[in-house]
């Protein structure tokens, strides 16, 4: 048996550039993501600057502070949602979880700040954990499981508030209220907390093994499984994170308002959170996303709403039309853009 006549060469260092077309294609993909991600930031800056010029009342520091404050509650929720979506899932229950935390923190206020906050966070985290386990272990579709969560947790909220008749209020002053009502350098504490949450989220996503896992699982779950990544654990944790973020936001709401919230609070918050995440450049299909983008997305949503109210003096209905329309325009642009750069199929 003779050895086949293949060219036996001394192994030579292989330059990493021979995938010319493949490389350029991947560069295009990166560009799209970059544009999507920083596009939100760019548009935000543009809108803020233009808005301040065109609508004087918008640019006033007081107004901007208020917009930021208003945005912080959905913002914190959206931060958690970003993880879930990058991991390839979705969480429709955040609005209900938010309400649960709001009510519980008010209900347990008489037991002191620590208990109130702890119980609320535990409840929110538990909701996330249960959903995460069901999705990761039983492999049920996230859309439906969290839809059930939305319904069930809302039911729970009504249950503990006597069918929505109770509006637990905080009597007296409590320490944790400062989180909501306090301010630092004239900017409300919730805004700082939101920024902190996003900073931690950025770190977790880009600088931890967990974050790597989230991106890998979201990009290709089966491949991640074969590479030995802890897929189930990662999937479960992102829902816990989402729940905790919704919980934190709820606690801050109670802190700010002193309680007295209605049982239907947080209705449709999940939609705003998802919109913010999508506008920020995170792909619903998973694997690619950015915390910075989501932050820009949230701010953009609230800035636009504020501009409409301040500037055009249009009623809130038109506001809704514009918000919805804006979301549509953004996602259509994103979809068209990704096709132009040849990163999607026919």
């Amino acid at each position: 048996m003779t050895a086949p006549a293949t060219k036996q060469q001394k192994p030579v260092a292989v330059a990493a550039d021979h995938g010319g077309r493949e490389a350029a294609r991947a560069r295009a993909r990166a560009l799209t993501s970059l544009i999507s991600r920083n596009g939100a930031v760019a548009v935000l800056i543009l809108v803020v600057v233009l808005g301040a010029l065109i609508v004087p009342s918008f640019g006033k520091p007081d107004n901007l502070r208020n917009v930021a404050l208003a945005a912080s509650f959905i913002g914190i929720i959206a931060a958690g949602m970003t993880f879930v979506i990058i991991c390839g899932g979705i969480d429709l229950s955040v609005g209900s979880t938010y309400a649960l935390a709001t009510i519980i923190s008010a209900m347990y206020a008489p037991r002191g700040s620590f208990i109130a906050v702890l119980y609320a966070m535990l409840a929110a985290g538990l909701v996330g954990l249960v959903q995460g386990l069901i999705i990761a272990r039983w492999r049920l579709p996230a859309f439906i499981v969290t839809l059930a969560g939305l319904t069930g947790v809302r039911g729970l909220v009504y249950y503990i508030t006597n069918e929505g008749n109770d509006h637990p209020k905080i009597e007296g002053r409590l320490a944790f209220e400062a989180l909501g009502t306090g301010s630092l350098a004239t900017i409300g504490t919730p805004v700082w907390i939101m920024l902190l949450v996003f900073a931690i989220g950025w770190w977790a996503l880009n600088r931890t093994p967990f974050g790597q896992s989230v991106q890998a699982v979201g990009g290709n779950q089966d491949a991640a499984e074969l590479m030995g990544l802890p897929v189930k654990r990662t999937q479960t944790i992102v829902y816990v994170v989402s729940g905790l973020c919704a919980g934190l936001s709820g606690i801050l709401t109670t802190a700010l308002s002193g309680g007295g919230q209605e049982a239907r609070i947080g209705d449709a918050y999940e939609l705003s959170a998802i919109a913010a995440v999508v506008i920020g450049g995170t792909l619903l299909s998973g694997g690619v996303g950015s915390m910075v983008g989501t932050l820009a997305g949230v701010l953009l949503l609230f800035v636009i709403q504020n501009l409409i109210v301040q500037g055009a003096n249009l009623n809130s209905y038109v506001q809704q039309v514009v918000s919805g329309g804006f979301l549509l325009v953004v996602v259509i642009l994103q979809a068209v853009l990704s096709r132009r750069t040849g990163t999607s199929e026919t």
Partner: protein
């Protein structure tokens, strides 16, 4: 080896059967429970009440069942209601006004289809945008206020019966039959199932995917509009901030519980109808047992999970 294989086959057969027929069994069980435990259950009144309340959900669910995720159906109901009110207040005959309302729903549906098919935006996001914008549009049309409508025909819609069966239920049943026929016997239905089963393969097989998607969302929008007209008649008013609220959730739940896969590829019309009836009956059961609404919602949540758990596709390997 043979016993192992036999057991395996038996278990999967049971699982498969449950997957197919679970919702019917659940409905029967619920009816039996009510017959025993709920006073005055087995009366004509109960059935008539049920059949007059459930049609809007059935009709909307039919649209979602064929088309897939459409979060905007509630808002489409509101738009249809608002358009109806506008025309009625303007003096148009009720028939034309209703047609206009349905046409409005059709248009919004086509818009959804265009965004999903041509711009290739994912259905969840596209219909989410329309959900938000749509309700705003409905509010703008009526100027935000509730518009009371005094239309004699509405009474017919609300109370009319044929051999004891409420007209609205007959309409819902007819629509269900029509949709079932569409899905099972026509080329359109064939294409629909193929696209839902594997969109890419359908493109490569030369199917007109974009056209089909647009029609599918148009149907969903039209059906939602019909449901909106019925809801308006029931309310005797057009309340754009209330009509259709959360309807998408009820409809999606009915579809999922009934065995249709939201990703497409498996459509169970009868299951969807049964799912809608099951959920409505569940609510009534809880109400008549003085269980609060909150409990109803929690029970519903458990049922949704149970339904998808049972319908889990069998794992081929492991």
């Amino acid at each position: 080896m043979t016993t192992l294989a036999a057991n395996f086959r038996d278990r999967t057969a049971v699982a498969a059967w449950t997957r197919e027929h679970g919702v019917y069994v659940a409905l029967v069980l619920l009816i039996v429970y009510n017959a025993i435990a709920t006073p005055n259950f087995v009366t004509v009144d109960t059935v008539q009440l049920l059949f007059s309340q459930v049609p809007p959900v059935i009709i909307v669910a039919l649209g979602i069942g064929t088309g897939g995720v459409d979060l905007s159906v509630g808002s489409i109901m509101a738009i249809a209601s608002a358009v109806l009110a506008k025309f009625v207040v303007g003096g148009t005959p009720i028939g034309v006004a209703m047609l206009a309302a349905v046409a409005a729903g059709l248009l919004v549906g086509v818009f959804n289809g265009l965004v999903v098919a041509f711009a290739r935006v994912q259905p969840i996001v596209a219909t989410l945008g329309v959900l938000v914008a749509g309700r705003g549009i409905a509010l703008v049309i009526t100027g935000g206020a509730l518009v009371e409508l005094f239309v004699p025909f509405f009474k017919t819609i609300r109370l009319g019966k044929f051999i004891g069966v409420p007209y609205v239920m007959i309409v819902a049943a007819l629509l269900a039959v029509a949709v079932a026929f569409l899905v099972r016997r026509t080329a359109f239905g064939y294409r629909l199932l193929a696209i839902g089963g594997n969109r890419r393969a359908s493109v490569l097989a030369g199917l007109p995917v974009r056209r089909t998607l647009i029609v599918v969302y148009a149907i969903s929008g039209t059906l939602a509009a019909v449901a909106g007209v019925i809801a308006t008649a029931r309310l005797r008013a057009s309340d754009p901030s209330y009509i259709g609220l959360l309807m998408e959730l009820s409809a999606i739940t009915a579809v999922v519980v009934g065995g249709t896969s939201l990703n497409g590829g498996r459509v169970r019309i009868l299951g969807t109808v049964t799912g809608a009836i099951l959920l409505q009956l569940l609510e009534s059961t809880l109400v008549s047992h003085n269980a609060p609404d909150s409990v109803a919602r929690m029970v519903e949540a458990v049922i949704i999970i149970a339904a998808v758990y049972v319908q889990r596709p069998a794992r081929s390997s492991r």
